[in-house]
């Protein structure tokens, strides 16, 4: 048979028509529809039995209670624990993603050794090599051997001290912002150290905030804001930037950047001159005290800080010295602490207002708490107070710090050939500068204790482990044990072999002391003294309970002032002399720009920025996909300044400070004072969007980085 | 889309919208189907050559299709609209009625307006060749590609093709029939064609007094295709040269042949 062209055409045409009426195209359509709805590379959520567990958020010292929804034991959601004391169910953005941290893209899976010179590179190494190298460095160093504990108060902190106690010239370092914030300065204002102090937010009815991030990182923001809404708390906020706290405050008084001290001194002078000083405030040499404050006239305050007399008077009038008023300085977890002089000036207000013993009370230390082990043998020091170039070996554990420590500050403390070891679950931030990186357990993998905020009444929660941490994680106690063996240090009896055992020890100590109350959601609080055994305490804490000391219950306005130590009670004795350094504080002028710099760089961003290395990538929803938080590489500038300096937003600009420069994008923001630049701090390299790190630019004093002189030029 | 698809709802909007849509789809499909069916039918009825010619006839310029009655001087300027099929033409029938009785002897040759001549032979076959004018336009350089013996040619379909280089042009077949013999260049390119059913109807071909005016008409058409400065080269000794296109530089064989041999 001969096939003609016509036959071919008929065949093709017939085939085309026939195909339409065959199942083939319809099947293809159906399959394509099913296929496009189930792309193989889009993950399908796993199913499993649903349950809810209570735990604690380990990210920052607020240690919020969390309710964790689990599916087949895997945590899928974290929310605030309702009715939790101090927090009232609130949880910040960073806490809402904490369960994702075990899968952080920068997770460290093996000990890493630094290689190469210039750009930081790491190679995997064995734990034995790490122990050997660190032990050798400890043996050979001429400098101090120190452990930087980002979250003091954990049992692990006790283990650190125990380890260091076997050797001369050692100390435990604490990061500047976490502890030096407020209360420690108040302690220094006393002739005799009254011991750890805490603010009792439950009795406070007025707060005078000096740039304190009360709703954004300090203490318990949820509690503060909810009490404000209930009308039980008034807030006066002196701050240069119209921050979250300033916006929500009953009264926001804008000040010139960096002039908190001037305002505090001016306010103090007003209180003194009008005689509205707490009777508990009794200095022998009151005249000298008054003289020191005399230069801070309203006129001078206005010149320095820009706060006029009427406003200052108004605030002063609102502050009756009832003892329920507290002045809080603190600092931004991202932007670091205020300078010491500012803190001192602010804390004097607390003395004048009679806050001591009422709004501010002493904490009761627990004698045999393993968290406090060897505290008499090993000094605990603020990182900034250590002499430059003195630290020979530094083991840094900043995973749960909830605050930023700029590398330049750490760098200047290290001896020239010093060894930095980083204990971290994630390779980011300071770990990038370390010689050795030891992988530790990320949040939600291992159970551990979560002590509360150091400026608030002592509390303790337990963070549970949900996801197996994996073999690659090194228990810090195990590392210390191996180091001890390598160094031939005799082990102390109190040091347990693992964190779990240490926690049991701690609970035993708490139970023995019988102090405080345990709160469990949905149940009546139980006094520790009424609980039968430490195991019961453990199970209550595991159920999401929170142990808290009984500060609030013991306090009342009529009580004598300072309660220091366990048994000594002072009934407002006249102080023998002016508190130390107050002359200098009062005499030193405030603020002022360095020559050549016409602007201020204000570093801030709140705790959500700094949870940093331990921050879930889902936080990118807030950081990257909304402009809610200041970025490291974005300079927020007042629109008037943008116009007057010709800062075109679509260009890149170079912000210079005495410490160095960084390239930034400009974003007009009317909440920033003219002449200032607001930028965020964020850990280096933790997440892909981190373009730079302005906290590399520590202030010239090497102690603060909240406010830097700056100038801006086109990049 | 259909009532059995999940989520379908009977409501006014859906009925109107989809009603319109399906109407449009049906109209489009019907239209295309009509065209396809008509084409298939044309093939089935072996009318495809006629249809093909009809399609091409539209594209011929008016000058290329003068009415035979105009050529015979019987009417004013008039153009053919029936694909030279005079039997379909009312005007032709009318003219025949007028001229009845004047019919003379059957002529020796008949001419198709595509320059093929037809000579009836005694055995009922016809011989088909290209006329002198056509041959001179095509020229001696061109080669003809004649159909094989036994193939059929169709009236107004392709009789045979002339090839020159890459170009080719076809000679319109004046009649339908089966090729029984053909002759090559030496014999002057001819086909012997046997009728298929019944004797040939040659009524659509030019004959007798129509031929000469038609030739003049064709000469005029040719001259319009040729640049003026070349006109004088076309004749030698009062006779047209053998290869027209070769005598004028820049003259396109393909274009000239196609115009004269009625291939659009």
């Amino acid at each position: 048979m001969k096939v003609s062209r016509r036959d071919m055409l008929m065949l093709l045409g017939g085939g085309a028509v026939g195909t339409i009426f065959s199942p083939i195209p319809w099947k293809l359509l159906r399959d394509s529809s099913v296929w496009t709805q189930n792309w193989p590379w889009i993950p399908v959520p796993k199913r499993g039995a649903a349950a809810t567990a209570a735990s604690a958020c380990p990210l920052c010292p607020s240690a919020c209670g969390v309710r964790v929804r689990t599916i087949g034991g895997r945590p899928v959601m974290v929310a605030g624990l309702p009715d939790a004391p101090g927090q009232r169910g609130a949880l910040c953005a960073a806490g809402s993603g904490v369960h994702q941290l075990p899968w952080h893209p920068d997770r460290v899976r093996t000990p890493l050794r630094r290689v190469g010179g210039g750009s930081p590179g790491f190679e995997p190494a064995s734990l034995e090599d790490a122990v050997g190298a660190i032990a050798a460095a400890i043996r050979e160093t001429q400098g101090t051997v120190a452990i930087l504990d980002g979250r003091p108060g954990r049992v692990l902190g006790g283990a650190y001290r125990e380890f260091l106690s076997g050797r001369a010239d050692t100390c435990v370092l604490v990061p500047p912002s976490a502890v030096r914030a407020s209360m420690p300065v108040l302690r220094k204002l006393h002739t005799r150290d009254p011991g750890p102090l805490a603010v009792d937010l439950d009795v406070v009815d007025t707060i005078v905030g000096f740039s304190a991030p009360l709703l954004d990182g300090w203490g318990q923001p949820g509690l503060v804001q909810q009490r404000m809404h209930e009308g039980r708390l008034r807030l006066f906020q002196f701050e240069a930037v119209q921050s979250r706290t300033a916006l929500m405050a009953d009264r926001w008084i804008p000040i010139t950047p960096g002039t908190e001290r001037a305002v505090a001194l001016g306010l103090a002078r007003m209180l003194i001159r009008s005689g509205r000083v707490s009777p508990a405030f009794g200095y022998a040499d009151f005249k000298a005290f008054v003289a020191a404050y005399e230069p801070w006239t309203p006129r001078r305050v206005f010149e320095v800080a820009g706060v006029d007399e009427a406003t200052l008077t108004e605030v002063a009038d609102a502050l009756a010295p009832t003892g329920r008023v507290v002045a809080i300085g603190g600092g931004d977890p991202a932007g670091g602490p205020l300078p010491f002089e500012d803190e001192a000036s602010i804390q004097v207000l607390n003395l004048l207002l009679g806050a001591m013993g009422q709004a501010v009370k002493a904490q009761r230390p627990l004698a045999d708490d393993p968290a406090d082990a060897a505290s008499d043998r090993v000094a605990t020091r603020d990182l900034c107070d250590v002499p430059d170039g003195s630290v020979g070996v530094l083991i840094a554990d900043l995973a749960m710090a909830g605050a930023t420590v700029p590398w330049p500050i750490l760098a200047r403390k290290m001896a020239p050939q010093g060894l930095l070891v980083s204990l971290t679950p994630v390779l980011a931030d300071l770990a990038l500068h370390a010689q050795w990186v030891i992988p530790t357990a990320p949040a939600f993998t291992a159970a551990h204790d979560c002590p509360g905020h150091p400026d608030l009444p002592r509390s303790l929660r337990l963070a549970r482990g949900f996801t197996p941490a994996g073999d690659e994680v090194v228990d810090p106690v195990d590392l210390l044990n191996r180091l001890g063996t390598a160094l031939g240090i005799e082990r102390q009896a109190t040091v347990a072999d693992a964190l779990d055992d240490m926690m049991a020890l701690r609970l035993r100590a708490l139970h023995r002391a019988g102090d405080g109350t345990v709160f469990v959601a949905g149940k009546d609080p139980v006094a520790m003294a009424e609980i039968d055994s430490p195991e019961d305490v453990l199970s209550m804490l595991r159920a999401g309970g929170c142990w808290r000391t009984a500060l609030a219950a013991a306090a009342s306005a009529e009580e004598p002032a300072v309660e220091a130590g366990d048994d000594q009670t002072e009934t407002a004795p006249p102080r023998p002399a002016m508190p130390f350094a107050l002359e200098q504080v009062a005499a030193k002028d405030s603020g002022g720009l360095v020559n050549g710099f016409q602007m201020y760089l204000i570093v801030g961003g709140g705790v959500e920025r700094t949870a940093g290395v331990a921050r879930s990538p889902i936080l990118s929803k807030v950081d990257q996909e909304s402009g809610l938080r200041p970025f490291a590489n974005v300079a927020r500038v007042n629109p008037a300044t943008v116009a007057s300096h010709g800062l075109r937003p679509n260009r890149r600009w170079r912000v210079s400070t005495p410490q160095g420069a960084i390239t930034m994008r400009i974003e007009p923001d009317p909440t920033v004072p003219p002449g200032a630049i607001l930028a965020g701090a964020e850990p280096q390299g933790a997440l892909p969007w981190n373009a730079g790190n302005p906290v590399d630019l520590a202030a010239p004093d090497g102690k603060t980085w909240r406010l830097l002189p700056a100038s801006i030029t086109e990049a | 889309m259909f009532p059995w698809v999940y989520g379908f709802e009977w409501n006014a909007g859906t009925v109107i919208f989809l009603g319109l849509f399906f109407t449009v789809v049906i109209v489009i499909l019907t239209t295309v189907t009509v065209a396809v069916v008509r084409s298939l039918r044309a093939f089935a009825q072996r009318k495809h050559h006629a249809v093909g010619w009809e399609a091409q006839f539209e594209d011929l310029g008016r000058e290329a299709r003068p009415c035979r009655h105009q050529l015979a001087g019987e009417t004013d300027q008039r153009y053919c609209r029936h694909g030279f099929e005079c039997k379909d033409c009312d005007f032709h029938r009318k003219m025949l009625d007028v001229a009845e009785g004047e019919a003379g002897d059957a002529p020796d040759r008949y001419f198709h307006r595509g320059h093929a001549w037809v000579r009836p032979e005694t055995d009922g076959t016809v011989t088909i060749g290209i006329d002198d004018f056509g041959a001179k336009v095509v020229g001696p350089r061109a080669r003809a590609k004649l159909p094989r013996i036994g193939r059929r040619i169709h009236e107004n379909g392709t009789g045979w093709r002339f090839l020159l280089g890459d170009d080719s042009v076809r000679v319109l077949a004046p009649v339908t029939g089966e090729v029984v013999a053909h002759g090559g260049r030496d014999e002057g390119w001819y086909l012997r064609v046997k009728p298929l059913d019944g004797p040939f109807d040659l009524g659509h071909l030019l004959q007798g007094p129509e031929v000469r005016p038609w030739m003049e008409h064709e000469m005029a058409r040719l001259l319009r295709l040729i640049p003026k400065d070349c006109h004088s080269d076309l004749t030698r000794d009062g006779r047209m040269v053998d290869d027209v296109t070769a005598h004028c530089s820049g003259l396109d064989w393909d274009v000239v042949c196609a115009e004269i041999l009625l291939e659009p």
Binding site: T36, Q37, W39, I42, P43, V44, P45, K46, G48, I71, R74, V76, A79, G80, A90, L91, C92, A93, A94, S96, G97, H99, Q100, W103, P105, L215, D216, P221, G222, Q225, Q226, H229, Q242, R244, L247, M248, P254, E608, S616, P617, I618, L619, S620, K621, Q624, E625, S626, G627, L628, R629, N638, P639, P649, N650, P670, T671, V672, P673, P674 | G7
Partner: protein
């Protein structure tokens, strides 16, 4: 075609009231929303214009200069309109208005990604999956099994955590009772640390949301457009109301 519709008279009509005087812009609702709804972390190039934020907190400023400048934070999500402009424009019924709850839902597996709904939405409350969703290795084990993940190329939006309602209803049905108000709360409401968001059934006069829905300081954004949003906002600050009534945008932002 997209004219105002009848107010749904279904069994329930869920609505929300957000107190702008309380919101401090912490962003916890955004994170909780993303976690609950299996939204992937932002790809490296994502920004505030192309990211998937089913709920996004916008700062709204009074347009005055420091120190008179004031801002409130406006959590902006799908306003769950009773006359949703996005529903009628979707060419293939991928947007569904549930007459029994008043919830406007997006069916991602039916969406072909034409983005017409996003153009139609005056609240800019819809997001498009410009990227394939990608989780760091292992993190997919934290996905919520009550809601499926979406692929790239489809639009999505808030549906008041509708799956939570399903779960609560199943549980209640199992126990033979009605759903309690506190059992069905969207993730953002649950996450708000300052209790700025109130959510519930507007048809239930005893619900917390019904009590404040008609409060004198409550208002809806763009209510003149006839969209009838079921999310209302509250503020005691007069300038907030003025802005909401007739705000004039301030400036151009170039990003490309």
């Amino acid at each position: 075609m997209s004219g105002p519709k009848e107010t749904p008279q279904g069994a329930s009509r869920y609505g929300m009231v957000i107190d702008l005087d309380r919101c401090n812009g912490c962003g916890a609702c955004m994170v909780a929303c993303a976690v609950e709804n299996n939204v992937a972390p932002a790809p490296q190039r994502a920004n505030d214009r192309n990211g998937i934020t089913l709920l996004r907190v916008f700062p709204m400023r009074n347009g005055r200069d420091y120190p008179e400048s004031r801002q409130v934070f406006v959590p902006m999500t799908c306003q769950q309109c009773d006359a949703p402009p996005c529903e009628s424009v979707c060419p293939q019924h991928a947007v569904e208005f549930d007459w029994t709850t008043g919830i406007v839902a997006q069916i991602p597996v039916r969406c072909l990604g034409c983005r017409y709904c996003m153009v139609a939405c005056p609240y800019h409350a819809r997001a498009f999956n410009w990227w394939d969703p990608e989780w760091p290795e292992g993190m997919e084990s934290t996905l919520n099994p009550d809601i499926s993940t979406r692929s790239r190329g489809v639009a999505e939006k808030c549906n008041f955590c509708h799956h939570r309602r399903q779960v609560a209803r199943e549980r209640a049905a199992h126990e033979g009772r009605e759903v309690r108000e506190d059992e069905y709360q969207p993730a953002c409401v649950e996450a708000c640390p300052v209790g700025a968001i109130v959510f519930g059934d507007l048809n239930d006069p005893d619900s917390a949301v019904a009590k404040v829905y008609e409060a004198p300081d409550a208002f809806a954004f763009l209510d003149k457009l006839g969209t009838k949003p079921k999310i209302r906002y509250r503020s005691r600050q007069e300038w907030v109301h003025a802005m909401a009534r007739q705000g004039v945008p301030e400036k151009e932002v170039t990003r490309g």
